[in-house]
């Protein structure tokens, strides 16, 4: 509510005092715990990660180890940032990554819980950093079209593609591989992630040729990595910062069914 009043008068939110409860863990083999950090002087215009920068600068000056978290582009496209904020992947705002979340989404006096994305297939590396190489391995199992890259192919306009299919393929391909879908799912399922890649290719003539092998190989790898079954709750779509649609899961199920029947 507090922020609504600020917004109504078009004021900058300044000097917020917050309590951060942050997951600290030395490495993959040690136990972690939540640690409280009071912080003040936070402005509404700061991004969530800039707020953590402020905390880390204070910790470094005190000689303490700063909180480690993954981040890189800080504009919502690289998919590095992966914080579970107050129980939600990427926090309370919709269609944003953690780096695009701003402190004006919080109120003076708030307590904010910050944890890594939780899943057996995403072991913690340190503090808020997780290992998402399981996602890479799913892609390596078949997330590509098997053409060589020497350029000796047909002209780009030799095969027209229906615009709607091309747009749907693009929308599926905008997945940034952050893992919010897995973190949002009570079963830690990777169906949304995997189905987005399967869909991108299934919708294009270039990808159809290997569609059967691809969906089988990627689903097999997904299961081997220890991701859970789809919970059908749609939490993944809701929390996805890029709005990847559940339709992709339905499409992958169809592809998988027909691959299994064929096989």
């Amino acid at each position: 509510m507090g922020n609504l009043i600020f917004k109504f008068f078009n004021l900058q939110i300044r000097d917020m005092k917050l309590t951060l409860k942050i997951w600290r863990q030395d490495n993959a083999t040690t136990k972690g715990k939540m640690v409280d950090y009071p912080i003040d002087g936070i402005e509404g215009d700061m991004s969530f990660l800039e707020m953590l920068d402020v905390l880390n600068e204070e910790l470094v000056v005190k000689g303490e180890e700063p909180v480690e978290f993954d981040h890189d582009c800080r504009e919502g496209i690289c998919g590095s940032c992966s914080l579970q904020i107050n129980g939600e992947p990427h926090g309370p705002d919709r269609l944003v990554t953690t780096c695009q979340l701003h402190m004006r989404s919080f109120n003076d006096g708030d307590t904010i819980t910050i944890e890594p994305f939780r899943a057996n297939a995403f072991p913690v590396v340190k503090d808020l950093i997780i290992d998402r190489s399981s996602f890479d391995r799913i892609q390596q199992a078949g997330g590509y079209v098997s053409v060589n890259t020497s350029g000796n192919t047909i002209d780009a306009n030799a095969t027209p593609v229906n615009k709607e299919d091309a747009d749907d393929s693009f929308n599926a391909a905008t997945c940034i591989g952050c893992g919010a879908c897995v973190a949002a799912c009570k079963n830690a399922s990777a169906m949304l992630f995997t189905s987005a890649k399967v869909s991108q290719y299934a919708l294009l003539p270039q990808g159809k040729i290997e569609a059967t092998e691809r969906v089988q190989a990627m689903v097999r790898q997904m299961d081997e990595e220890g991701f859970g079954n789809c919970s059908n709750t749609g939490a993944c779509e809701l929390e996805c910062p890029k709005g990847i649609s559940l339709e992709n899961i339905a499409r992958m199920n169809r592809e998988y069914m027909s691959a299994t029947t064929e096989g």
Binding site: E50, S133, V147, T149
Partner: protein, 667 residues
Amino acid sequence: MSVLDSKIPEGPLADKWTKHKNDINLVNPANKRNIDIIMVGTGLAGGSAAATLAELGYNVKTFCYQDSPRRAHSIAAQGGINAAKNYQGDGDSNYRLFYDTVKGGDYRSREGNVYRLAEVSGNIIDQCVAQGVPFAREYGGLLDNRSFGGVLVSRTFYAKGQTGQQLLLGAYSAMNRQINRGKIQSFNRHEMMDLVLVDGKARGIIARDMVTGEIERHSAHAVVLASGGYGNVFFLSTNAMGSNVMAAWRAHRRGAYFANPCYTQIHPTCIPVSGDHQSKLTLMSESLRNDGRIWVPKNKEDVLAIREGKKKPTDLSEDERDYYLERRYPAFGNLVPRDVASRAAKERCDAGFGVNKTGEAVYLDFKSAIERYGKEAAFKHGHKNPSDEEVTKLGKEIIESKYGNLFQMYQKIVDQNPYETPMMIYPAVHYTMGGLWVDYNLQTTIPGCYATGEANFSDHGANRLGASALMQGLADGYFVLPYTIGDYLSKDIRTGKIPTDSTEFDAAEKDVKDRIDRLMKASGKHSVDHYHKLLGKIMWNKCGMARNATDLQSALDEIKALREDFWANVKVTGKEDTKNAELEKAGRVADFLELGELFAKDALHRNESCGGHFREEYQTEEGEALRDDEHFKYVAAWEYTGNPRDAKLHKEDLTFNNIELKTRSYK
């Protein structure tokens, strides 16, 4: 001073690349299996090259500091990729793309390289479509194009505002295919700490496993650096937080010349700095200048009233606004090239007309476009006398369909609705045209060490055109390097595996460990970011959009003093044998503190203005860049001699046989 040989093949411009490919040596498939290549960086240039080299049969090891190759900063490129396909039938050709690029670079790039870039550009699009990259299409099913700055044709292919993402994921998927075949070993969360030379040739690297802190030795027959640009020397830039110059700088210290370090692109349309906490800057695509009009208030009283919140920009009438680009450049208006638009914004803000609390912002206004599109749409719907509300509603819909994702991004960051009130923008560091000097084969001055993409200097001269960075990265990676590196490796087929237990590897590893040790043991007064921010301020204020000899001279001294202070007083927390973000940053900032000094030296020596390099002493009466072709028509390649300011200059004269040297004018 020596004169560098660029090894441009003889013969007519259009035949050089074909002739060269026919002349160079090849490695037979059986021998490729015995040859190892190290690739540092997995963005467009590195990812595409790694995939193609592995496809050809070489054993490739890739290294990236991110947790996955898919996160390299190429992913953030928005607008598109140029290619001379001439699908629109609007008169495009390889020559025209070549011409636009050389002219856009203010005649400071190499003809032979740029023509080759244009020549292979069409093939990039074929290749990417075959790989399943979902480019934007028209209703007929064919590929769509859009226009970009500085050209008269529509040659830009795109995937909404995420072209870089789609192209990078294409290269990443090609890499994945080779990883699955066992031909690429991918080392993620690894940072190259040094280049190892054996008998004068690049034979490997020392890398740090960023999770365990382990220092590792990796050998190969050739090392390719595809590690991106160095815009983060300014601290604030549109680069990713981790983008750094370490790989290129370590190679420079080992003997690779660094070319034109002062050529930096300051992009005119970025979201302005909002406070001291700012960690990075966000670009708003160049495409917005097609429909947005740039202005500041005419009167200082209005400027102050706006800053104090007493007036809104929408309160100002047309005659109270100064559309300064339209005023100064009636022919090109808001679509002047990036360097010109950036300097004009700085000029207005320096004169006190900046519209935000820091005084460093101008307006980018879509009101006229919303009205124009709204009227057109109403007319098409058969409403000949539409109400103002209807016009605005329809106009906003059109703007949303064109730029919706950018408007959303702006609103999230600034918390203002750009459909209702003009955007605030200001120039920011975006891309570095300078980089490691390479010859036509993309080889640096160290035999066996290659540089591709933004890490090299070769194709964009003193200013890069929009949508050309993606083109260059993929051209180098898919189509150029895989050929040229074979010529070098053909002499290595009998060499056998390069051992890592040699004295050269011992010495390089010791250097790396000593350096880490020094950082960990410094006295510990200030954080790494403290130094990085101070360096950024010096760079921005004295080596930024406008430079002069006095400031550059003082920048040289200030950077040196800051570097000495850094090594004595930096505080690196944690331990060296664990994941340690502070240590990672410290190593990178240490190199920026050396590069910054060479940057200033290069800018000071170049007594002319060209492209992104604007020296205040060298301008026309109207304040435009004044080139000096008689004295500076060369590439400045610097040799490391132990101290950045003592770097030794080597020149590569640029010859223009196919294009006439002219002064750019946009009036």
